[in-house]
């Protein structure tokens, strides 16, 4: 097996007496879509927060492209190519779609904080931004303010913003949450089109989507990974059926 692009090794995190992450180890291979599922309160978002640097684990190691990033600041992780989207959509409402995406391009540009040159008409930022916008199918909405997009469009915008970081791994925190059926199908098609080109860690509630998209599925229950493998074997795992799938009926 190839060297994983992202590896968690024995991550632990407790809030007081509550163990929210209990010795979690998992690996994401290059180009792989690795889904992380689990019932509410299983600690999925807490885990994503630790990977993206919002929270520090109490113990364990996070390896990204062969480098230990456990102590690295969030913005440094993003610069290194670890992009994330949020469970609650996170865009800049008063900037247009194009500007939101150009902001991501800017982070990777030669002078990310140039002081005087006009940014709105900067082709060096806008051209890559247009490409990312086209990749998520938002071209016609490029000049609309992000705050006025529909929920599904905001999700797509977030993914476009993540793409501009030229990421090695994209962390997707429940991209389908709260999205209607039609928009959800469009997003699933979008994720499918990105599969293979980017390694993705997908945290998701929508079981249908997960089993359709994922190369590997890991199941998190009470902060602990109880099963990990290809979708078929995870679906068949009795512990998973009892802890999680059973509840769903």
């Amino acid at each position: 097996m190839a060297e994983p692009v992202l590896a968690l090794i024995g991550i632990n995190k407790a809030f007081g007496a509550l163990k929210v992450t209990d010795c979690v180890s998992l690996a994401v291979q290059p180009g792989e879509l690795h889904a992380l599922i689990g019932p509410n309160g299983a600690g999925k978002t807490t885990l994503v927060h630790q990977i993206s640097g919002v929270l520090r684990p109490d113990a364990g190691q996070i390896m990204f492209k062969g480098r230990d990033i456990t102590e690295l600041a969030s913005e440094k992780r993003a610069q290194a190519g670890l992009a994330r989207t949020f469970q609650i959509t996170s865009t800049i409402p008063s900037l247009s779609v194009l500007e939101n995406v150009a902001l991501g391009v800017q982070a990777r540009a030669a002078h990310p904080l140039a002081l005087l040159r006009n940014a709105a008409e900067d082709a060096a930022l806008n051209e890559p931004a247009w490409a990312a916008i086209a990749a998520v199918g938002l071209t016609e909405r490029a000049h609309v303010l992000a705050g006025r997009l529909s929920h599904g469009e905001k999700r797509a915008l977030e993914i476009a913003m993540a793409l501009t970081l030229e990421p090695s791994v994209i962390l997707l925190d429940e991209p389908l949450a709260g999205v209607g059926r039609e928009e959800g199908e469009r997003l699933i098609a979008l994720l499918n089109s990105l599969k293979g080109r980017y390694a993705m860690l997908l945290v998701e509630h929508d079981m249908e989507a997960v089993f359709a998209l994922a190369d590997t599925v890991s199941v998190l229950v009470y902060g602990r990974v109880i099963a990990s493998g290809d979708p078929a074997s995870v679906r068949a795992d009795p512990a998973v059926r009892e802890a999680y799938l059973g509840e769903e009926g």
Binding site: S52, V54, S74, E75, K76, A78, Q79, A83, R84, F86, S90, T91, I92, P93, S94, L95, E99, A102, L103, G104, V105, Q106, A107, R108, A109, H111, P112, L113, A114, L115, L116, R117, N118, A119, A120, D122, L125, E127, P128, W130, A131, A132, A134, A135, G137, T139, E140, A142, H143, M161, L163, T164, L165, E166, S193, R197
Partner: protein, 331 residues
């Protein structure tokens, strides 16, 4: 960039929405430039001094709008920078150094250092804590000025000379002084506008709305805010230099927290974040103060409620009001 378009051809790019031309801004500066002419045509002579003073405060309000309106950081100690600028000018003139080409670099460096040190501490906090810490630093500067017994202490410092510029005396004539201040204001406005529209400004604006997102995109938000804070402090220091030369007097009152509050009010009155709104707010504030205090000695009884009503009933300040009156979104 390696993002490839999806297999089907992307739809054509929509045209960018047309940008409004800055009609208000141009009209505002033309109106200001005509004030000396209006004075020769019969406007009371003290208006030349009044508008000069208002433009000096407009520079300070503009600098505050950069961090308050654009950056979303409510600084309650901005008068400290006016004070540092004014005191640096006053002290150097008292010590016999009147040349602006020497005074200005020293003053700007002093403001930059004060901003960098206080900003590094206060920018670790948000919201009310940030307001209180900037207020505390402002009060520190105020008490420091009071303690400067060699330079007037509590009573303030009278200047017996004005600054010179490369040997000339641009402040000796009131009309020349007026146009110097107008030029500085125009320059600062163009500069701050350019800053806001730049890559730097885009990050600053974005961080006001969603700092987490900006951090996750790979920017050091704290550093961007600190740079904005330092630039803002330096511009406010410049207004202190002009103020000291106009009043030929410097006192701790320049730094009082009431003064910082007035600056915030000027920005809010004009329209937060629009830049020319801060200029409009400062002009309106100082002119209203002057006109009302000429009518009655109890003018504050009118001014206070007027301010409250104005803020309650004009969303977006004067700029928002003008926009609605003329059916435009902004200047």
């Amino acid at each position: 960039m390696t993002v490839e378009a999806s297999t089907q051809a992307a739809p054509p790019r929509p045209a960018a929405p047309a940008r409004h031309r800055p009609v208000f801004v141009i009209a505002l500066f033309l109106a200001l430039a005509a004030v000396p002419l209006a004075v020769t045509l019969g406007l009371p002579a003290h208006w030349l001094t009044l508008v000069t003073r208002a433009m000096i405060f407009a520079i300070a309000a503009l600098s505050l709008d950069l961090i308050l309106g654009v950056g979303g950081l409510v600084s309650f100690g901005h008068a400290a920078f006016i004070g540092i600028g004014a005191y640096a000018t006053g002290i150097m003139i008292t010590e016999g150094q009147t040349e602006a080409l020497i005074i200005l670099p020293v003053l700007l460096a002093a403001c930059a250092v004060f901003a960098a040190v206080t900003g590094a501490v206060s920018l670790r906090t948000r919201g009310v804590a940030f307001i209180m810490i900037t207020l505390a630093f402002g009060q520190m500067a105020y008490f420091l000025a009071q303690a400067l017994s060699a330079y007037g202490g509590d009573d303030g410092l009278t200047l017996y000379e004005q600054s010179t510029l490369a040997g000339f005396e641009p402040f000796a004539n009131r009309t020349t002084f007026f146009y110097v201040v107008l030029a500085v204001l125009a320059f600062c406005h163009v500069l701050v506008r350019a800053l806001v529209a730049s890559r730097f400004g885009r990050v600053l604006r974005a961080a006001r709305e969603n700092a987490t997102r900006v951090t996750m995109t790979g920017f050091d938000v704290g550093r961007v805010r600190l740079v904005a804070y330092v630039i803002s402090g330096m511009i406010a220091g410049l207004s202190g230099f002009l103020l000291a030369n106009q009043t030929e007097f410097v006192s701790p009152a320049f730094i009082s927290w009431q003064r910082s509050g007035e600056l915030i009010f000027m920005v809010v009155l004009g329209g937060v974040g629009s830049l020319h709104g801060a200029i409009l707010g400062a002009l309106a504030f100082l002119i209203a103060e002057d006109v009302l205090s000429g009518l009655t000695e109890h003018w504050k009884v009118i001014f206070g409620p007027m301010i409250v009503l104005f803020v309650l009933f004009t969303r977006g300040g004067l700029v928002g009001l003008l926009g609605r009156l003329t059916g435009r979104r902004d200047g």
